[in-house]
Subunit: 131 residues, 4 copies
C-alpha cells in the first residue's frame, strides 16, 4: 500500500520527521489487517485493544514532501499475547528508506489486562483470503 | 505562558506548520483555565466535554525551530453553552506572529448533547483568584 | 478525493483532533492543484512558496478513527497575490463534518516577498484540463 | 526536564500516541545539549545537521492527557560520527512509562555527507559546565 508524504509530515531539514514513521507503520499494519478481512475497528468493537509494547526503526534515506511511499508489512510468526509487524518503506525509485518493527499487545478493553490474540485473527493468518 | 518550538512542529519551509497553531492555542487555553483553579481534567472528570465548534487563525509572521513563543489568552465575554478564547502569539522580539480565536461547546459526556457552562467556571471567571 | 482517518489523528475524546483538519485541507488543495496539472512541488522548484495567511474552520460533526472522509475543494475567484481554497469534509454517510477555507500568499522563495500568482496557474484555472 | 501531555498528543485509546514519544525524546535531547552550553540551533548555524539513524522505544505504561512527564537523557559514550541518547520517561508517581534510545549522525549540511562530531561538543561532554 502507498502513502503520499504530506507537508505537515516534513520538518525544517526538508525531510519527513523521524517520529512520523510510527504513523506510517500504523497505516501499514491497519491496511494489512483489513486485507485479511478483520478491520481493526472490529477488534475494538469486540473489546480488544492493541497498545504498542516496543518498536525499532532504522532510517536509511530520507523521505521528502510529496514522495509516494510504498509500505510493506510482514508477520514472521503467528501472534500469541503479542503480535509483531515488520515494515519496510521504499520510494518510487525502489530505494529502501526505512525499516523497522512494532510489537503490540492484545489487551482486554474492560480489564485492561493482556489476553491471547483473537482466534479469528489466528485462523485468518493461518489461511489468508485469496486475493 | 511560553512554549518552545519543537523540531517536530516545523515543516520543509523551515517554519512552524500552520496546523500546529491549533495545538499552541490548546496549550494556551488549558493553562489559562488551570490558572483560574479549574484544570480541564476536573471538567472531564465531572462529565463535561469541550469539543471545538469553530476557529479562525491569522498568520502574520512565521515561527521557527527553537523560538520561544509567548501565548496570551483572553475571554471577552462570559461563557454560555459556548466559550470563546482569543489568542495571540509573539516571539522573543515581541513581534506578533499569529492571532486567532477558538470557540468550544460544553457537552455532557453521557448524552453528548450541549449543556450550559459549569457554574463553578462562571464564578471563577467573574472573580478570578488573586495571583 | 478521500482520506482514511489514522489512529494518530484521533484524540482522547475519540474524535479527530481539531488541528488535524489543517492537514486534511492541505492534502485536499495539494491534490486539487495536482489535478490541474501543476503539482505544488513544481511551484516550489520554480521558486514559489505558499505560506498560509489565514484560515477558518467550522466543525459540525466529529470524525472518528478509520472513517473514510471525502474532501472537496473549491476556488471561488482567480488568485492574485493570494489564493483562497474553500473545503468541505463529509463522511461515508454524506454528512457534512467540517467546512472552512484557507488563504495562502504567493511568495518569492529568494526574496521572501509576496509576488503574483504564476501565470501558468491562472491559465490552468481559467481553462482546466478535461478529465 | 518536564513536559505536560497535550490533548493533541493523545489518541482514541485515551493514551499518548506511541509515535509522539519520538518528539518527547527530541525535546529531551535538545534541552540536554542546550544545558551543556551548545544549543542545537548553533550546530545548525555552523552547518551541522543531525538526522536520526536508528531508534528503539519500549512502552511500559501509558501516559495520559495532562500528565506531567519527567524526561531524563544519558550519553553512555562520547560521540564519533554518531551520537546515541538514552532516554527514560517517568510520571508524577515516579513510575517508568517509556525508555528508549535514539542514534543520530553528524552530517555536513553542504555535502550532506557524514562528518565527525564537532570538537566543541566533545570538549563540553568531557568536562560539562558546573550547574
Amino acid at each position: 500500500m502507498q502513502v503520499r508524504v504530506r507537508y505537515a509530515e516534513t520538518d525544517a531539514m526538508g525531510y519527513v520527521y523521524y517520529g512520523q514513521y510510527a504513523t506510517y507503520f500504523e497505516v501499514a499494519r491497519t491496511e494489512a489487517v483489513r486485507a485479511l478481512g478483520l478491520p481493526y475497528t472490529e477488534l475494538e468493537a469486540a473489546g480488544v485493544m492493541l497498545p504498542v509494547r516496543e518498536m525499532q526503526v532504522r532510517f536509511h534515506r530520507p523521505a521528502r514532501y510529496d514522495d509516494l511511499l510504498t509500505l510493506t508489512t510482514e508477520l514472521r510468526e503467528l501472534p500469541s499475547v503479542r503480535i509483531k509487524f515488520w515494515h519496510r518503506i521504499t520510494n518510487e525509485a525502489q530505494a529502501l528508506l526505512t525499516e523497522g518493527w512494532v510489537e503490540l499487545v492484545f489487551v482486554d478493553a474492560n480489564t485492561r489486562r493482556p489476553r491471547p490474540a483473537p482466534e479469528q485473527l489466528i485462523r485468518l493468518l493461518a489461511s489468508p483470503p485469496q486475493q
